[in-house]
């Protein structure tokens, strides 16, 4: 981010920026930066809170009027926690009565997708949009592609215009967006990390993604291997070697 600022300024275009990782900004010394204490992925703090977003935006833009620099200012207003954040032991209202399921893990995954469908539909209607459309596949077909890949990594892709690794990444992102979009529509606002915790600990999809990671790591395609190492399971979730399933 800071590098873009330096290059643009050298070309005569003034910049101001949001900083999410203060240590990086301290090193790069861009002309004007506002460090914000928000989670990665939310540079303007709070979704659906226009007043909050406006305050952050204005604070960043006002740095353009600083008489000298570089300026690195701290934004001290924390993002408020949703009510659900106070609840210990997050539990998803949808009960995934998984084992035993016909079709094994692939069947369990399809069951989950079906059980979440009403919530996904509600989220899509309420927001007027969905972000689970990168692959162009339905969640069911995306899930089937992933479980088929786990069974046989040499299966052909689903679109000619996508490399194998891109095809995999897009179905993974779509499936996560489907799950997290659906659960966010259920009663009770939840902190993002609690939804992540649910996805990565309490779902069949979690097991599928760990198996996908292993399948990718065993691929002969270096890009697919790299995706398996870094792109399937977040770093914060990846267990130490002794804990791996």
């Amino acid at each position: 981010m800071g590098a873009l600022g330096h290059y643009l300024e050298e070309e005569g275009v003034a910049t101001t920026q949001i900083s999410l990782v203060r240590e990086h900004t301290e090193t790069m010394k861009p002309p004007r930066a506002l460090w914000v204490p928000f989670m990665l992925g939310r540079p303007f703090g709070v979704p659906n809170d226009a007043a909050f977003q406006r305050r952050v935006l204005l604070a960043a833009l006002r740095l353009l009027e600083a008489p000298g620099g570089p300026v690195l200012e701290d934004y001290l207003e924390e993002a408020p926690h949703p009510a659900g954040d106070e609840v210990e032991g997050f539990a998803c209202p949808v009960s995934f009565s998984r084992p035993p399921v016909e079709g094994g893990l692939a069947g369990a995954l399809q069951n989950e997708i079906a059980e979440l469908a009403p919530w996904y539909d509600l989220a899509r209607k309420d927001r007027g949009r969905t972000t689970a459309t990168l692959s162009g596949l339905t969640p069911e077909v995306a899930a089937q592609f992933i479980t088929n890949f786990i069974a046989d990594p040499s299966i052909p892709g689903y679109r000619d215009d996508l490399t194998p690794v891109l095809a995999l990444r897009l179905v993974c992102q779509d499936l996560k967006a489907y799950y997290l979009g659906a659960v966010a529509a259920q009663p009770g606002a939840r902190a993002a990390f609690e939804a992540q915790k649910w996805f990565w600990h309490d779902t069949a999809a979690n097991e599928v993604f760990f198996k996908l990671r292993d399948a990718c790591l065993g691929s002969e395609d270096e890009m697919v291997q790299r995706f398996g190492a870094k792109g399937v399971v977040p770093m914060a979730i990846t267990p130490s070697p002794g804990e791996q399933t």
Partner: protein, 157 residues
């Protein structure tokens, strides 16, 4: 919140290690301009968002590409194909403005807090090595000037 001390150890170590490639940028010239109320502002995000139907962001040489986001874009037209799985996407699912504050920027223009909103905004995918973005950034500077932009809001994810 993103205080390194609050992150899981692998994330913390990853971000600390990345700091090494960020050194050596200090002391460069910086641009000035009119008062904020007269500025024409564009957003450049490194969140890897783009319009539905645009080519998704890819790894390798293509990682330095950018996508154009017209100021008239609607929320339903924006998706995110950033490579990283290490940041929250649920905020963006709920409200694009938590990543790409286009509606807030338009409101500030109506109020007169800024001069105008640019016709075009741009999106990179922030997983690319920082110095690899230089050619595209300098190219964008020319396009921004043609759009009469004299202030850019840079925002990460």
């Amino acid at each position: 919140m993103v205080r390194l001390a609050d992150l899981a150890q692998p994330e913390r170590e990853h971000l600390i290690a990345k700091n090494k490639e960020l050194a050596g940028f200090g002391g460069r010239p910086w641009a000035t301009g009119p008062s904020l109320g007269r500025r024409r502002v564009a957003i450049i995000t490194t969140s890897g968002i783009h319009r539905v139907g645009d080519r998704p962001f890819a790894d390798g040489a293509a990682a330095t590409d950018y996508r154009v986001i017209p100021g008239s874009v609607s929320a339903g037209d924006l998706v995110m194909s950033h490579l990283s799985s290490n940041f929250d996407r649920t905020g963006f699912q709920q409200d694009i403005n938590v990543v790409f504050p286009i509606d807030r920027l338009k409101e500030l223009a109506v109020e007169g807090a800024i001069g105008e909103v640019a016709d075009y905004h741009y999106s990179f995918m922030g997983a690319a090595p920082v110095r690899s973005l230089e050619p595209k950034a300098r190219q964008l500077a020319g396009l921004l000037k043609k759009d009469r932009v004299d202030a850019v809001l840079l925002t990460p994810v």
